[in-house]
Symmetry: C2
């Protein structure tokens, strides 16, 4: 059985931006923490929605037609297939939930694609 | 498209204990906020894990062989089929994530079973 997860402690254990770390699982979903600094990459996930919950800092989810600004305790679900690009002008700490195997860069690929890593 | 969800604002909109409120969806999962006060009911979910993230207060997840104590920013996933009984000696505010259609009382049923309600 998985143990409890203290999100702040897990986030304190690394410093890299946009390197998602799996901290747990819910059925076939991964529970992921990530630090966002700067702009990620435009992408979409054709087969899944994408869950963002800001734990600290501020995260802007850029959509093609608007921006969604999230602070601590605010969540947003990007629907499957919708292009988005997260941006954090200062650092944001975020909980992501997606199906296991979902690439962080979705359909875009490229240099920011990260392997699934557990901490 | 769903809008962003400010969890504290949603939780401030009701006061009943153990009445889960759906605030969003992630694929076929429901994103639920609940206030816990006192002891819930022993139950298990034979077909799904059960995600708990404490937002405020303290929640004890009683298992048959131990207790898991959660404070703000701490999460725990109860595996499918594992009996558990949440208890909050003072009020706890919690984010739950489960597949849509999952009854809050799992296989136990009874008076604390709540309809799926959106706010």
């Amino acid at each position: 059985m998985q143990e409890k997860v203290n999100l702040a402690e897990r986030l304190a254990s690394f410093d890299e931006a946009f390197k998602p770390k799996i901290v747990g699982e819910l059925n076939d979903y991964k529970l992921v923490v990530v630090k966002a600094r700067g702009e990620f990459v435009w992408h979409s996930h054709p087969d899944t929605d994408d869950f963002f919950l800001v734990l600290s800092g501020r995260l802007t989810i850029q959509l093609r037609d608007r921006e969604v600004e999230l602070g601590p305790g605010e969540l947003f679900v990007v629907p499957r297939g919708v292009e988005h690009c997260p941006r954090a002008d200062e650092e944001a700490e975020v909980l992501l939930i997606e199906p296991l195997g979902t690439p962080n860069t979705g359909d875009a690929g490229g240099a920011m694609t990260a392997a699934e890593e557990r901490i």
